[in-house]
Symmetry: none
Subunit: 200 residues, 4 copies
DNA sequence: TATGAATGAGTCTTCATTCAT
DNA sequence: GATGAATGAAGACTCATTCAT
């Protein structure tokens, strides 16, 4: 009904942003269930009512958080893409980079960063019951594919779109299946799949 | 805390069962969020308090529901496996059967049965945030793999375990990516992947 | 959904009753708008959640409050009816009694008791936007008519149902119009109308 | 407290007017509860804050809306009065016209227009709890009576003020009682009463 | 003179769990 | 062993009003 206040002032813009950041952080840490008006407002240090002031509904806030999170990932890679493609050599390095792009870069300390990986798949699956996420997720998926396409190309190992889809499916399938393991290491699982497929 | 009531009386056993059935049905229809004490008790036609009497917590009930649902699926196929393997001919038929096993048999009327498909992936991804589901899901995954291994074998097209994992990943990856489409048809996406992989 | 807990224990019965009483009091004092979960629970000195435990929805609670209030009025008169009919003499006394029944007995101190009168008409008009009150209000109206019919009869001044409806309309119309006066005295207005009609 | 902004500029006057129109429309459609700052501003296509800028409080806005609505009704009839009085013949036609004036003209399609009828009585009863409406409603009631008096006179069937009050009471009483019926047809109820009274 | 921004208080309702019986 | 009763905490969302600009 009341259309969300798209703030015109810099301050309003900033606050709206802080709410999205807070929501994105909660999303990453606790999944979709963790994104609640109260939790977001407390995390952002803003009044509860600000969450409904800046967003028409919780769904809107969730959408914004999903987009923020995904765009951050995408943007990060878009910047480095050419540089990386030029630098790397060999299938193994390529594989790691693809995994970095698809699953996020793991923390240096060797701990697998489950939260980040998980979110990618929660996003996909959650869309199944949240139709309002579909347009956003479709766009995002297309952008990611585009990015990877260019990446393979610059890396001197161009792939057809269908082949790329296949590689992505392989990674994603490996990950979701690895999620159930007692000591899940989805990246390792995806790595195995991807190497095998690329070295055929 | 009352420890989980493992009922000794036949009547208790029966009621516990009815609760699990109700929970499994809700799970299939509405995902994890739909499994609530009240909803389960009403569905089962049993008192609200019976849900906490027979299960220590909602998580326990959810676990039982996941197991029940998965075992039902598995059992269904175990029964028909040999019969099916003997009957079918050709890659296309094989592919459909594999999809039936992995994604559930679609309703006859052509409507893609999203709910059933969705649950398989919600289960996998939900395990990421529900460690208590891991042992169960690991066992279940192994049994499913075992089943498929035997199935390919009887179909005269034996596959190595690693190759099977790859095929499963392909299907699962195709599905989770198809979930975000505006008119999702995950089965069709999985079919394309699987056929391509099997016909190489 | 969850059907309202119809308490079986005496204590539960008592608490449910206290909630209805509290709601009826608020209704009388502040009209329909004043009946809120919080207000009712605070007035009754019971937890907020008890209001939703004993009543499926606020509408249910409002209905119960309306019924309680009306039944109290009705019951009061049913008890005294024959005695009063035997005692009174003359049209003027009859008129006052009819007004007592329709508008409630005014406080002794001469202050017109607006709240009580008002509620009768708020109830009627509110039903216009609250279909769920219709069955209840229809029954109540029929019972009131029945009561008045018997009352006129015992008073030695029997009236036809249609004539009674006319008299009631006269009173009600007089009252709702008197409500807007700067110093409203709806009872006086109704008295004038009724006397004129009865003395024709 | 900023005192009520009585705008001096023509533009201010116009906007204030648009707000009143919007509020009156909402009042007619949804009763008093429907008149909210947000709803009014959206309906008028004006900023939310304009509602508090041009009106000290919501009550002020409601008052203005009630007045606007009533004056519109009154004005409509004042224009046609003489013409109608000259044209009509017979008690039945007279009755319909009186009902038109008191209850609003029903839509042609035969559907009883509950909203319009309802508002007349909500206005009266609401005044019981809104003293600030009393002066306004008193004036309005007097004007309506005046109008009807003249109308009866021109129709060749002059009535005394007291007799008119009686007829109005009859209509109003019939209507408020008809409001509770399961299929309310207040106009029909009022018609019966009025005909009976006029044909005595 | 206007108005976008902002929010404290409040709306109804749901829910997992505890506890007395 | 079973369950009705009960509730604190939280859920999404609305709203009249204030205030800085």
């Amino acid at each position: 009904m009341t259309s969300a206040s798209t703030p015109s002032t810099p301050k309003g813009e900033r606050r709206r942003n802080e709410l999205i950041d807070a929501a994105a952080a909660l999303l990453a840490e606790g999944g979709f269930e963790a994104v609640r008006h109260r939790a977001v407002s407390e995390r952002a240090g803003l009044p509860l009512a600000s969450t409904t002031y800046y967003f028409d509904s919780l769904d809107d806030l969730v959408s914004a958080a999903v987009e923020r999170h995904s765009r951050n990932e995408l943007a990060e890679w878009a910047d480095w893409l050419d540089e990386l493609a030029a630098r790397q050599r060999g299938v193994d390095t390529l594989v790691e980079l693809v995994l970095d792009i698809l699953l996020g870069r793991p923390p240096q300390d060797g701990t697998p960063d489950m939260d980040a990986v998980l979110l990618r798949y929660e996003r996909l699956v959650a869309t199944g019951r949240r139709p309002y996420l579909r347009p956003l997720m479709t766009t995002l998926a297309a952008e990611l594919e585009e990015l990877l396409l260019r990446f393979f190309e610059r890396s001197g190992m161009p792939v057809q779109p269908d082949r790329l889809k296949q590689l992505i499916a392989l990674v994603d399938g490996a990950v979701v299946n690895a999620l159930v393991e007692v000591n899940p290491d989805p990246r390792a699982a995806a790595r195995r799949m991807l190497r095998a497929a690329l070295q055929e």
